[in-house]
């Protein structure tokens, strides 16, 4: 890692990020969990997560926490994406392709509207 140059860039990025944090658009935090077990990876979960991260980057979405998890036992439904928003119960989505992920990010994460079409019961 080109330490000196990169860390200087990071210092600047951190300052900017702290500034933006002061202006909050939504209250509370949304957690997005993506299944990355062997079944998930085989079904394309890496690209699903990539789509989620790209969405956050390009929409400049604050207050979203993206985490990974292993196999949750619904291998036929992979890629699986779960959304925990505020105090609401966890919503589990199945067969989440990159396109479906973008849809969920826009409708559910940004606007609080659950996308019933892809919801699966755990």
């Amino acid at each position: 890692m080109n330490t000196i140059k990169s860390l200087e860039d990071l210092k600047r990025v951190r300052e900017e990020a702290l500034q933006k944090r002061k202006v909050k658009t939504t209250s509370g935090q949304t957690q997005v969990i993506i299944g990355m077990g062997t079944c998930g990876i085989a079904a394309g979960a890496r690209n699903t997560m990539k789509a989620v991260l790209n969405f956050i980057e390009h929409e400049n979405l604050q207050n979203v926490l993206v985490t990974q998890t292993g196999c949750i036992g619904l291998c036929e439904q992979e890629p699986i994406l779960q959304v925990v928003q505020g105090d609401s119960p966890k919503v589990t989505y199945g067969k989440v392709t990159e396109e479906v992920a973008r849809h969920i990010m826009k409708e559910h994460v940004m606007m609080g509207k659950i996308v019933d079409k892809y919801v699966i019961s755990v």
């Binding site: 990025v13 951190r14 990355m36 292993g70």
Partner: protein, 183 residues
């Protein structure tokens, strides 16, 4: 099964996390002169005894309670053997595990490394509490990323913050581009 080596790496990294590792080291070494491509994943998780190592390579064994097959390791072993390579697991209970996969680089069945950038980015963001160290060495050029340095600088800002995601993504992409540049 997986079409890219970087997906196998992602799969093994998940095993390391499940084993309770706090430090995970991923090393990829490509040597065009020696016609060698190998990767190692070393963790300080709970480790396995000899019996457990044998079971790990058995496709009909898994520590999960939800299914009766565990295919990640057996498939990787097959992939290395199909490329005139080798596969080895070294582990000690309480100490950690080291998985080494070697491939003959120009073998016709050798799958590409693939989108290693996304593998690295996903692990850094998805598991921000783990100390990750990535090393990718291609002949005499090297890309190293140790997230401890980043965590120190971030000092509380989330890895899921859009600006941090952009920083990580571009750092990884540029680093990997540099080692692939022809002189």
């Amino acid at each position: 099964m997986f079409k890219e080596i970087s997906l196998h790496i992602l799969d093994l990294a998940e095993n390391c996390v499940t084993s309770g590792a706090k430090n995970i080291n991923i090393k990829i070494i490509e040597n065009t002169k020696d016609n060698r491509l190998q990767f190692e994943i070393i963790d300080d998780g709970k480790g396995m005894n000899k019996n457990e190592i044998e079971q790990a390579i058995d496709p009909f064994f898994t520590t999960r309670t939800t299914r009766r097959v565990g295919l990640g390791l057996p498939f990787l072993k097959e992939a290395t053997e199909a490329c005139n390579g080798s596969f080895d697991i070294q582990s000690e209970p309480g100490k950690g595990t080291r998985v080494i996969a070697k491939f003959q680089r120009d073998h016709i069945d050798r799958m590409p490394i693939g989108d290693i950038q996304s593998t690295i980015l996903n692990l850094l963001v998805g598991y921000p509490d783990i100390h990750w160290c990535f090393e990718y060495k291609l002949d005499n050029k090297q890309f190293v990323l140790d997230n401890n340095e980043i965590i120190k600088e971030l000092n509380g800002i989330s890895f899921s913050d859009p600006m941090i995601i952009r920083f990580l993504r571009t750092t990884i992409e540029n680093g990997i581009k540099v080692i692939h540049k022809q002189k």
